[in-house]
């Protein structure tokens, strides 16, 4: 059957693969969207009720009471075998449109998909326009797709804590495929790679990407390069530049470079094939990445706690340094000694 012409295929395949809709309504459905009762949220997640997941993400994102319990529970229940795919790249690269098409493909295969889209918070107002979802609106009525938009809400670089924690929750809930889309600006791109199985870097011709490519770290993290809007002038040049950066690698380790025009749904099949081919390679490094993540998780939790405790003594120490011959280094040693007791 020609899948492109017959819109019915998508739904039939889905019904065969999964009997249970993930947007399930609980039998006792008097449940408030405002609930923060963590044990309720946890039990909803266990019964694969999407309202549980959605509330869990909010609780964790806003650092509400019970956040730690939620995360601990998610971690303990174990990361189900969810294939995680990351899309990163500069704004305007067309990531959301690409993700939309990729989701469509996974749905045709009958897979459930969880999408996490991260957008930047405005440094002036603290608000955000979360504008990735609008490009995926064809999936809104589909019960087999969950899409959540997060604002980065951060002052420093790197994938926001909320996004990292949300991924834990997604994995605990369980989707066949998880897709995270982030704004690739500097540290973000590198961070994403640690948290997913396959990282796709999306570039657009004419954006001065050769400058981007020169930045250390970018070339190392991408498992797949996608040149979107490839009908624009400069696409060939960009492809050459990318290929040039990999000529030192043995052929079977070179990441695929694919041309797409996401708006016209062109090149998506090639992207899916590339994802499949890279996936097996990625599985081998999974364990290592997982260890790296755990280490970082522990480290950052310890450091945040330390930072909080340090702050309690900080002002006094600053006064001491200003008024006496105490140096900052000695002050730090004093605080550490205090905390160790």
């Amino acid at each position: 059957m020609d899948a492109a012409v017959d819109g019915r295929l998508r739904r039939v395949a889905y019904d065969k693969a999964r009997d249970v809709s993930i947007m399930k309504m609980n039998a006792n459905s008097n449940w408030s969207m405002k609930t923060s009762r963590v044990n309720e949220v946890i039990s909803l997640m266990k019964s694969r009720d999407i309202r549980g997941l959605t509330r869990a993400i909010s609780i964790v994102e806003s650092n509400e009471e019970g956040k730690d319990d939620l995360l601990n529970d998610a971690f303990r229940r174990g990361s189900k075998a969810c294939f995680t795919l990351g899309f990163t790249g500069a704004p305007g690269a067309g990531k959301s449109t690409l993700v939309n098409s990729v989701v469509r493909h996974f749905r045709k295969e009958g897979k459930t998909v969880g999408v996490l889209a991260v957008d930047p918070t405005s440094p002036f107002s603290g608000g955000a326009v979360l504008g990735d979802r609008i490009r995926m609106k064809e999936h809104n009525p589909d019960d087999g797709v969950y899409i959540r938009s997060l604002a980065s809400r951060k002052a420093l670089g790197g994938l926001s804590e909320a996004a990292k924690f949300a991924l834990y929750l997604y994995k605990a809930y369980g989707f066949d495929v998880i897709i995270i889309e982030t704004l690739g600006v500097g540290q973000d791109e590198i961070d994403v790679a640690k948290y997913v199985d396959v990282t796709a870097l999306v570039l657009v011709p004419g954006y001065g990407d050769h400058i981007q490519l020169a930045k250390a770290g970018i070339m190392e993290i991408a498992d797949i390069f996608i040149i979107n809007k490839s009908d624009r002038p400069g696409a060939d040049l960009l492809k050459k530049q990318i290929l040039n950066t990999m000529h030192m690698k043995p052929e079977d380790e070179r990441p695929p470079v694919i041309n797409t025009i996401a708006e016209r749904n062109e090149g998506i099949a090639e992207v899916m094939a590339a994802v499949e081919s890279v996936r097996s390679r990625a599985a081998l490094q999974r364990e290592e990445r997982y260890r790296g993540r755990i280490a970082e998780e522990i480290r950052s939790s310890v450091l945040s706690q330390l930072a909080r405790e340090t702050d309690l003594h900080l002002e006094d120490m600053v006064e001491k340094v200003l008024k006496s011959s105490l140096t900052p280094i000695e002050a730090a040693k004093e605080i550490l000694a205090l905390l160790r007791n």
């Binding site: 806003s62 603290g126 609008i134 609106k137 899409i147 809400r153």
Partner: protein, 132 residues
Amino acid sequence: MSREKKIRVLIAKLGCDIHERGALTLLTVLRDEGMEVIYTGRYQTAKGVANAAVSEDVDVIALSDHTGSLPIIAQSVLAELKKIGVTDMKVVSGGLLSPQDIKDLEKMGVSGNFGPGTPLEMIIEHIRSAAR
């Protein structure tokens, strides 16, 4: 990580209404007021909007329509929300409204119901209080 709770708003347009300017204006204004705003785009279905609102765990759904169909639209969205067990989602509306429309909407629990030309400060304040 920021510790404040941000107000999350879903701006939605259902059916075939093409007049987007009000929705787009509200989008940036609410962002500048520190809220996290998602716009569904046009041509949405009620089920799509309900799913999106629950997935995004928004505090308020803002329905925008200029064809005079807000009561019908609000009813369909509330019905879809009920189907997935959500009965306490705050819904506000704005656009072309007759006095009867406003009465019908308020009976359904939809508040705000702002006609064209309503000062933005009023809308912002209402959304803030609805989100509490």
